[in-house]
């Protein structure tokens, strides 16, 4: 975990449309990857875009699902159902 020397907790936001099949898939993929690589040292905030439209306007997210790594910095955004595990791990953790 090269980016995280201080053992800081990972904070993620996952924007989904919960009526979409992409939503369940992305949540599942998230859990699998994070549980495996982050030792449960993370917090995942799942936000439904129709329940919290103001949040998506603020973050200006067009494509859904989008995963944002809020902490540790820098902020990283991943777009898609997170099925490309290798890329997710590369972008977020290592």
């Amino acid at each position: 975990m090269k980016n995280n020397y201080n053992n800081e907790k990972y904070l993620f936001q996952l924007f989904i449309n919960k009526n979409s099949i992409l939503a369940s898939r992305s949540i599942k993929n998230c859990r699998i990857i994070f549980d495996k690589y982050l030792n449960k040292n993370y917090e995942l905030d799942i936000i439904d875009i129709y329940e919290h439209p103001e949040k998506i306007t603020k973050e200006q997210i067009i494509a859904i699902p989008t995963l944002i790594k809020k902490s540790p910095l820098p902020e990283v955004r991943l777009t898609g159902d997170l099925s490309d595990t290798e890329k997710v791990v590369n972008e977020l953790i290592y």
Binding site: S20, N29, I49, P53, E54, A63, L78, T79, G80
Partner: protein
């Protein structure tokens, strides 16, 4: 015969009108555009606006939003993916729109969506539901009826082309469901849209803007590529963007019920009026005076103006060759004092160097003058100078349309041109110009061995029994006089006469 032709033309041309009203349309408020689309863009449907960079897409769509808010009481949403809101406000201000005011009055909302390429990493499948949520929120904020997405390319620049097609379609259907009239701009050419099958399947209306250079003068043009369920003009029209907004040229007046005057007006020369039924020309008609240099075109038109002004008719003289001061001096030599006419406000001058700007700009400026001073007579001296600066075909169409515009304004227009029978045989377009006018007075010079005489004849004059005689025209310090042609006893036979170019 000729008059019959013109009347049938006037009656048949706008007959397209009744079949149009089936589709609900949204007025753009852009001068000229609502005419060529017969009432605006399709209401509650998306319109795609394509064109290269710098063709005026952003401005046209902004104009649509602003006009909606100001003229039609329809609030608008402008979503920009490129320019920042502040920049847009500043840009709009230089073009005469106070966006800040409209924003504070909640008539307009500008939403800047910053889409940064580098921020997005694709990790699997996705869709653009987020955009719908953002748009939905923004639409609700001002209760928008009109929406602009500027531009499509930026919006989708970072997305996989595979999802582009399906998502673009979804966006279109979503917009239709929302019952908003949308303009989506795209810098990509129409071939791109066609490749994706979007143009055929999704877009109801596709408008193209372009900016072409011809003879070093750049002109922006607009064309409606497609308009499902509606008539539209297939032509390409030039348009202008200035501090008064966007204007598609010409502003075609579709009304046919303009009254045709039966009144006549003197050309200021008794002997010339005699050749025209003894009454002169019709008010509101167009008169062409053609002839080579030095045959007296300007003198003849100034004689007309002089007489009209003295009988309290206001005139606008558009000089493209001489400056007003030059004209004043030169006219004194034939006994016409122009200064008092100017001082009494009866005569106004429009003077411009032809090559300074393109033809549309000249016509726009002249139109402005017409609105301002409301003249009865307008002189264009000479139009051949304007013709030098554009391809002839463009000019002819534009001139014809401009004459039409002047007619609907009930203006009597006289223009001079260096058209001769020789030039017509060389250039068919010249004939086009002369065939659109009501009265054509032709001046020629005839060379003899020891002298040259100028002749005048009425080539045509619609709706009257005009003289077919050729007269000698003499210009002296007392003005113009027409004399019967005299073939001298030792004169040359007619076939030896050389008509100069």
């Amino acid at each position: 015969m000729k008059t019959e032709n013109t009347i049938t033309l006037e009656q048949t041309a706008p007959e397209i009108k009744p079949t149009i009203k089936k589709l609900e349309k949204s007025l753009t408020g852009i001068k000229g555009l609502d005419e060529i689309t017969y009432g605006g863009i399709p209401k509650n449907r998306p319109t795609v606006l394509v064109g290269g960079s710098g063709t005026g897409k952003t401005f046209m769509s902004l104009e649509y939003i602003v006009n909606g808010a100001m003229l039609y009481n329809e609030p608008g949403l402008f979503v920009t993916f490129e320019e920042r809101t502040e920049d847009l406000i500043v840009n709009a201000l230089t073009l005469g729109h106070d966006l800040q005011k409209l924003i504070s009055e909640k008539k307009i909302l500008i939403e800047h969506l910053n889409i940064n390429n580098n921020e997005i990493h694709e990790v699997g499948k996705y869709n653009i539901d987020g955009l719908f949520v953002i748009l939905d929120q923004a639409i609700q904020k001002v209760n928008a009826k009109r929406i602009v997405l500027d531009s499509f390319d930026t919006l989708f620049s970072n997305f996989d082309t595979r999802i582009l097609r399906s998502e673009f379609k979804r966006l279109f259907f979503w917009l239709k469901e929302k019952k908003v009239t949308a303009i989506i701009t795209a810098e990509i050419g129409d071939t791109f849209l066609t490749r994706l099958g979007l143009e055929e399947n999704v877009a109801d209306c596709v408008i193209e803007l372009n900016n072409r250079l011809s003879n070093q003068i750049g002109t922006r043009r607009i064309r409606i590529l497609k308009y499902r369920g509606s008539f539209h003009s297939n032509n390409e029209y030039p348009f202008l963007i200035d501090e008064k907004g966007m204007t598609v040229f010409p502003v075609i007046n579709q009304s046919i019920d303009f009254k045709i005057a039966n009144e006549r007006i003197s050309l200021g020369l008794k002997s010339l009026d005699e050749m025209l039924d003894n009454k002169g020309v019709y008010l509101g008609s167009s008169i062409l005076i053609s002839g080579t240099a030095g045959t007296g075109k300007s003198s003849l038109s100034m004689t007309f103006v002089n007489n009209a002004c003295k009988s309290n008719i206001s005139c606008l003289y558009c000089a493209f060759e001489e400056s007003p001061n030059q004209i004043i001096r030169n006219m004194l030599s034939i006994g016409i004092d122009v200064l008092p006419l100017i001082n009494s406000n009866k005569l106004k001058f429009y003077h411009a160097i032809p090559t300074l700007q393109n033809l549309e700009l000249h016509f726009m400026a002249i139109k402005e003058q017409i609105e301002k001073s409301q003249p009865t007579i307008i002189i264009l001296d000479p139009v051949s100078n304007l013709i030098t600066e554009g391809p002839n075909s463009d000019v002819r169409i534009m001139l014809t349309q401009f004459i039409w515009y002047l007619k609907t304004k009930k203006l009597t227009v006289m223009f001079t041109a260096a058209i001769t029978l020789n030039s017509i045989s060389l250039n068919q377009n010249d004939e086009g110009i002369s065939s659109t006018v009501d009265t054509w007075i032709m001046l020629q010079d005839i060379d003899f061995i020891n002298k040259r005489i100028n002749t005048l004849e009425v080539k045509k004059s619609r709706g009257m029994n005009h003289s077919k005689q050729k007269k000698e025209i003499k210009i002296s310090s007392d003005g113009i006089s027409l004399l019967p042609m005299v073939i001298e006893e030792n004169g040359f036979p007619l076939h030896a006469i050389n008509i100069s170019k």
